[in-house]
């Protein structure tokens, strides 16, 4: 009896989650005339035209390319600086470590709106405005602390004896770190990379403020269409579906670690 009621609860909840997404997919497969003239749960005249529009128009697909470029840069930068730092936090006590750790956390909690304007001026003054690297660096604000926290959580789970044995066996620190330690926390690195990817991918405010043309993200491209008169719903829906795809593809690999990642490595 109990199994039955829980199945009902889960079915209702999952339907609640999936119906809006289904609606978006449904819209993306309709023509604009059908969207505004008839109301139907399935596309009457099935069309891929909206996707063709996006994939053939540079002002659309360059949005995805730009997003992917700065997200990749951000993931690489974040992980490169966060790995040694997380190791330091998980293995050593040093002067001011607690304060530093707390300070990193505050950056994760800082509202991006506070930083939007100063970022704009900072990057304009050093000539980085409207470049991919500017957005990648700006997103480090919340991704580096996140990566440090997640990695620290995973590194804690690796017994210290492994480090000590490796040093006795004559490994230098860099060699030990790359050859032995990194494979041990491979899943942690994967999860950290995934979360950096995700939070950089979903962020709108900073990427919209820091780019106008050359590095304009897909998120910014989509909001411009929203404000334009004569809404192109089909294309907008198709663009939305395409932004979900990368996330949906990688969820499968990190499904068992998602909770741990969101808990900042502390489950």
């Amino acid at each position: 009896m109990r199994i039955k009621s829980s199945a009902v609860v889960m079915t209702i909840y999952l339907l609640f989650l999936l119906i809006p997404i289904y609606w978006l997919i449904n819209m993306s497969l309709k023509t604009n005339t059908e969207i505004t003239s008839t109301f139907s749960v399935f596309p009457q005249t099935f069309t891929l035209q909206n996707y063709v529009t996006i994939l053939s128009d540079p002002s659309w697909y360059m949005g995805y390319v730009n997003s992917i470029i700065y997200v990749t840069m951000n993931v690489v930068i974040s992980l490169t600086v966060a790995l040694p730092a997380a190791y330091a936090f998980s293995r050593y006590n040093f002067m001011g470590d607690k304060h530093l750790f707390f300070w990193l956390l505050t950056n994760r909690m800082a509202p991006p709106a506070v930083f939007a304007l100063p970022f704009f001026q900072l990057y304009s003054s050093v000539g980085l405005f409207d470049t991919h690297i500017a957005i990648a660096l700006a997103h480090c604000l919340f991704n580096v602390p996140l990566a440090v926290w997640i990695l620290e959580g995973f590194m804690r789970g690796v017994p210290k004896e492994i480090d000590e044995t490796a040093y006795i066996d004559g490994y230098s620190f860099p060699k030990f770190f790359v050859k032995i330690f990194m494979p041990l926390i491979a899943s942690g690195i994967g999860v950290a990379a995934f979360f950096c990817f995700m939070f950089s991918w979903v962020e709108l405010l900073l990427s919209r403020t820091l780019a106008t043309v050359n590095a304009k993200s897909i998120a910014a491209t989509m909001t411009r269409t929203v404000s334009a008169s004569g809404m192109d719903w089909g294309v907008l829906a198709a663009a939305g579906v395409l932004t979900i795809v990368p996330g949906a593809l990688v969820i499968y690999f990190v499904r068992n670690y998602i909770a741990k990642g969101f808990a900042l490595g502390r489950v």
């Binding site: 609606w23 505004t36 100063p118 804690r156």
Partner: protein, 290 residues
């Protein structure tokens, strides 16, 4: 784990320090600079002292945005936390269906914030959206672009849709860490469902729930993109939350002084809450280790 004292570890932290200093401290100093100065352009600044702070502390606009923000965060927490726990208790414990539920539930968390806005913007519209259309068909007067109450309901349901899974996933992770022996002991004692929840499951979920509540509080407190896309802060100012108001002030009207003073106060509030969060969490960590 006991750690060794080693101040050379600072070298490992140095890259993070430099990077975050560049992307956080420098901009923050700019904000501080604006907060105490006035300018007529051309990089000429005049000392304005605490004028901007006075203006902001006494401004109705800020009070209203703050009021809406607190109300919003309170409603969000009141719905999402109990619902998330409830969902976690009903999730399958293992096997194919457990993974299946995990993957589907994680889906909304990984959709770009503005697309979440777009989904609900389309879904809620009376002319083309399933929700809006269905409500209109059964005779409920619903229009989130004109009616402030409808706009609020839409934004809240959207946030519940978007983030309840986070609370559920964290609570689920907490539940999974409870050894089977605890439940067997409860069965021997003939404990009812409520006592099992109250004395076994809830205490074990305490740590992750704390994280869930604080993450949800922080993120809802600085929500920007989703309501911006769906309602644009309207109708009127009814869904203008703190971040939306701030972005309007800073990048829309270029009222740098007031916006900067506003930013600093906003940041201090967050800092205070983060500190409480951090203290409670490290204390919990310590308790578990002893």
């Amino acid at each position: 784990m006991d750690k060794t004292l080693n101040n050379k570890a600072w070298f490992l932290v140095l890259p993070v320090l430099v990077l975050v200093a560049f992307s956080a401290v420098l901009p923050l100093m700019t904000v501080v600079n604006y907060a105490f100065n006035d300018t007529f352009g051309q990089n000429k600044f005049f000392w304005a002292g605490l004028d901007w702070f006075e203006e902001m502390v006494t401004s109705d606009r800020l009070h209203q945005a703050l009021g809406r923000q607190i109300l919003f965060s309170a409603i969000i927490l009141a719905i999402e936390v109990p619902l998330g726990i409830f969902i976690a208790l009903n999730m399958p414990k293992k096997g194919f269906f457990a993974s299946f539920c995990l993957i589907l539930m994680a889906l909304p968390l990984l959709i770009p914030f503005n697309v979440v806005g777009t989904i609900w913007q389309i879904f809620g519209r009376v002319d083309i959206g399933l929700l809006g259309h269905t409500l209109a068909a059964i005779g409920i007067d619903y229009n989130y672009t004109n009616d402030p109450i409808d706009a609020w309901i839409t934004v809240i349901i959207m946030d519940v849709w978007h983030w309840t899974s986070l609370v559920a996933l964290l609570a689920y992770a907490g539940l999974q860490s409870i050894p089977q022996a605890y439940y067997q002991a409860a069965r021997i004692d003939q404990a009812n469902r409520w006592s099992v929840f109250r004395y076994i499951e809830l205490p074990k979920m305490k740590g992750v729930l704390l994280i869930a509540i604080l993450l949800r509080f922080m993120d809802s407190f600085m929500i920007y993109t989703e309501p911006f896309v769906v309602t644009g802060g309207g109708p009127g100012n009814s869904t203008t939350f703190l971040s939306i108001d701030l972005a309007k002030m800073a990048t829309g009207q270029f009222d740098l002084g007031p916006a900067a003073a506003f930013s600093l106060m906003y940041f201090l509030v967050i800092l205070l809450i983060s500190w409480v969060f951090f203290t409670v969490m490290t204390n919990l960590d310590r308790e578990e280790n002893h």
